[in-house]
Structure formats: C-alpha cells, structure tokens
Amino acid sequence: MKILVPVKRVPDPTQKAKIKDGHIDLTGASWIVNTFDEYAVETALRLLENGEANARTAGSEIVVVTIGPEDAAKELRTTLAMGADRAIHVVAKDDELDSLVVVKVLAGIIAAEKPDVVILGKQAVDGDANQVGQMLAGKLGWPQATFAASIEVKGSAYVVGREVDGGVEYKQVPTPAVITVDLRIVASHAVQNGVTPASFAYGGEGARLPSLKGIMAAKKKPMVTAKLADYGAEPVPVIKEVGVTLPPPRAAGQIVADIPTLVKKLAEEAKVI
C-alpha cells in the first residue's frame, strides 16, 4: 500500500496579517506545515501502522510532495520526521502557482508513482480555497471523498464519514481515490484500518509531533527535487491576486452591567429582539 500526501507550507496563522504593496507582507514570516496537511500525514500513518504496537505495516510507503520555494524543503522534512518515507520537492515560486498548475504537477507525479490513494488536507489555512483535492480527482477521473472526519478500511475500499450540512454522510470509495481530511480525522478512533485494534485510542490533540529519533531519521530519508517543467506544467497561473485589503475593525463594544440592561439594549438600541 502506497499513499501520496501533498502538503503545503503556510505562514503561521497566529501571526497578524500585514499588508505591503497591496499584498500580504510575508517578510520575516514563520512557516508551518498547513494544519490540514499535517492531519493528512497523520491519517496516512494511522492507515499504515498498528497504532497499539507502534509498528508500520510491512511494504507500506508514504510519499510526501510539496510544490513551493526552495526553503519549503524545511516543512517537507518535518513530515518525514513525523514518519513519511520519502519526499518530492517541486521547486517553484508562489506566484508561478495556482490550483490548476498544482493539480497538473500532482497528476504527473501520480502517473509516475502510482499510489493507491492520495490523502491531503481539505484546504490550506492561508488561501482557504478548498480546491486541489477535488480538482485532482476530477483530472484523474478518480472518485473523491472530501472533508473526511473518519475513515474505515473495508477490503480495498474506504468508507469515509463526511461532515455535511445537517449530519454525517458515509461514502464508500474504491482505490485509487483522493481523500481530503477535516479536523476530526485526528480524533482518537477516527481511523480504523483493521490492523490497529478498534479499542485502541490515539491520544493527544491533532497530529503526532516528530520524535527526536524521527527528526534524526528524517535527515537521511530521500528527498528529490524537480521542476514544474518535469511534469509538463508551465509557471502561468490563470488565477492571479490583484490585491489584498484588511477588513475594517469592528467598532468597540461595551461591557453591560447586568442582564436586564442587556435585554433593554438588545430591544431598544440594537433592535434585534
């Protein structure tokens, strides 16, 4: 079983957004692996291990891919330290990319790597576009299971619990398929691979942190670099950012002394009840 996990680096979302020359100012920004992509790596690991015995399934492989500037190799290395086996870094400037360019490159990598499944985050927390997984599935003609909150392995297929408007939808997809993961995929029992005992509860909040051993091992894991042209992609985005503005701050509110005053203000001042 081979799983391909595309990951994106994003500016740390806890930093305050600043504008310079009409765009987000990223000088001096600190970068992290997009949280949802980190969860995708975690999901791939949970699918390919016995979590209780802390042992990877023999013959399994997780390949991580990023398309981004040279220094994005650092975030890619982080996912190797979590437990991915090897990495592909397609070097490109951010302004050479849009979701269609990214999808073209990923389709080329998938044609060469032939993974059983592609798992990625449902969206990147910088652009919040939520496009690449679905577009990739469409281009490949593969089935898709987006916004996965749970995954259960059923033979060579996956039953994916998807959080939709008004409840949870269960969708079965055969392999190969594209799966995009949502927040709750990292819950204690969200991934059931038939190897890890169903009773086993993954601990912690979110994805596993790289261990010291993992960080040391990651330094020796293979990372190949490539160019857009290697996959027939051109650095010509059709989606361009014209400019960015910050929303006006909300006017300062007021602390209200007690509930009767609040209800009076809601009724007479705000006129909302």
């Binding site: 979302p13 008004g166 939808e169 910050l246 602390i255 509930i259």
Partner: protein, 323 residues
C-alpha cells in the same frame, strides 16, 4: 458565451434558502457579462422543484434521473460541466455549501476553468472576485483569465434573491452516461432538528468549552428556542463531543452572519471569530473579562453562564409578555 449557470440545491419541491444567495450572486455576474441566469437543478425529484425555481430566473434546466437519487460529486460534476457548455455559460456558480464545495472544483477540473472559492462579492471587473483569506482576516481580490470561471458564493455574504415578476421557461436535459467511478453513497446520519438551519438563522446561540458538557447546553437550547434561533458551538465544544460536529461555527465549520449572535463561554479563538464576526450584533457572555471574544462583541456580560443565561431567559420572557 455570457450566461451564468447557477447550480441550485432544492428540497421538498422548492429551492433551498442557501440557493437564493447563489442566485443573488448569479444575477450580479449575469449583468456584468450581459447574459442571463440559467438555473440548473440536478437530482431525482428535480422536476418537482422546477416550477418554484422558474420564479427566480428566465431559464431553468432540469436533469432528473432515478440514478441521481443520492448526490455524488462523481456523477454530478460531469452534468454541471456539460450544461455549462450547452448553455453558453461564462460563469458556473453554486453556494459554498457542503455540496457546492465538494462538486465545484471537480467541475472546474473538467472545464479547465479557474475557480474562485467562497467569494464575498463580485469585484470591479466581471472576472474579478473578492474572497476572504487567512480565516477572514483579509480579503483578496483575484482575477481569473480562463474562458469559463467556476465560483462558489459564501451564503452569509449575499442576501437571498427575490422572485422575478414572471416565471422562466423550464427545459429538461438528459444526464448522459452516469458513472460514479465506483463511489457509493452508504448512508446519512442526519441531525434532526426543528430549529432553523445554522446558515440561514437570524439568531444563533453558541456555546464553547466553558459549557463543560453536553448536558449544560440544554439551557442554551432553551434560549435558542425562545428566540427561534439555531444552535452553534465553538470547535472546542464540538471536538470535546459535547454537541454534534455540524454545530461548529468557525473557519473550518459554518460561516454565519445572523442579526444576533450569542457567544456563551467561548474564549474567541481566531478560528471561531472567522466564522461569526460578520454577525450584525454580537453578545458575549464570559466570566473572564480578558477573553478575546469581548474585542468583537457589541455587548459583553462578564458573568458565569450558570447565572447569566437563566436570567437572560427570564428577562426575555418578561419582555415578550409585556409586548
């Protein structure tokens, strides 16, 4: 090629409220392109909603097939792409619902179209769109240069479109080859509720980590029912399993903009604020006056919810009975 194909969700023989927001955007886009809005209804039972849909656009195309009983991106996306071409669409649009977000990028891939997701408004040119990025902390204007453009519109940013004066023409189209690529709908575990949809509600009552457990949400539900409100929650509360996951308001949950939003025992993480700071009036109830929620609240009450919420309920009841 100047029309706007608006994929609209329906239920029980009528358009969903969320679809009306899509139509508001579609009308603006059609005007910018000098074309018409064409409503596309897809699914088993679509025909039954066509008369209601025809009140909103000059043309309605219906693709109704028993094999489309359950929505699947794999079967719906090719229909949207085919109908985009058949109807001379410059723009294909849907509301950014769970279905809209799932299907539209797949349609974009089939059409080699650039896509603008979850937009807040049409920009200063017909191929420019304004959309929130960085959890709503900034607005980006994007320009898309493909002949066909795919768009999803954020429901809370568009007022529902009103009916037109005269009914449009309804035509039917065939689904073509329906190929689910092996994908199957298994089941839907629905959260049944008599309350309004979180996305449409005029009032939302949300609870956070400070509610401590699901049982404690009952008092918030009492408040919600008094006001005809939808229930919401912070990620901390849904992650802890206190309430259903689809109550989550935030960057990665629902984006809401009601007239009145109650944030009870919610600290106000960026993630949560991204989902509700478009609300017209925000009330925060929290025992800690330093929580960031008070920076976005119009009215703050610094009290424990255990005391404040029951009193709020009784005061609102008093107000209602005095009217």
């Amino acid at each position: 090629m100047s029309n706007v194909l608006a994929f609209c969700e329906f239920a029980d023989g009528a358009l969903r409220t969320s679809a009306l927001s899509n139509l508001a955007f579609a009308r603006a886009a059609a005007q910018a392109h000098g074309g018409d809005v064409v409503i596309l209804l897809v699914g088993h039972g679509a025909q039954a909603a066509s008369a209601a849909a025809a009140k909103f656009a000059p043309k309605v195309v219906v693709v109704d097939d028993p094999k489309l009983e359950h929505y699947l991106a794999e079967t719906y996306a090719p229909i949207l792409a085919d109908q985009a071409k058949a109807n001379g669409a410059a723009v294909v649009t849907a509301t950014a619902t769970a279905i809209g977000k799932d299907v539209m990028p797949r349609v974009a891939a089939l059409l080699d179209a650039g896509m603008a997701s979850d937009i807040a408004k049409l920009g200063d040119a017909k191929n420019r769109f304004v959309r929130p990025i960085l959890a709503g902390n900034a607005y980006s204007t994007v320009e898309i240069t493909t002949p066909i453009i795919c768009v999803t519109a954020r429901q809370s940013e568009f007022e529902p479109a009103p009916e037109l004066g005269s009914a449009g023409a309804v035509t039917t189209a065939t689904a073509g080859a329906i190929d689910a690529k092996g994908a199957e709908f298994v089941k839907l575990d629905a959260q049944k509720s008599d309350r309004p949809d979180l996305g449409d509600a005029k009032v939302v009552v949300s609870g956070g980590r400070g509610m401590k457990n699901g049982e404690n949400f009952k008092v918030l539900e009492e408040l919600a029912d008094l006001l005809g409100a939808a229930m919401g929650a912070s990620r901390a509360a849904t992650d802890a399993g206190m309430v259903p996951a689809d109550w989550q308001v935030g960057q990665t949950g629902k984006i809401v903009a009601p007239n009145l939003y109650f944030a009870v025992a919610i600290s106000g993480a960026i993630q949560h604020l991204a989902g509700m700071k478009g609300s017209k009036t925000i009330v925060a109830i929290n025992k800690n006056k330093d929580e960031p929620i008070f920076q976005v609240a119009d009215y703050g009450i610094v009290q424990e919810w255990e005391k404040a919420v029951p009193e709020l309920i009784s005061e609102i009841k008093k107000l209602k009975s005095s009217r």
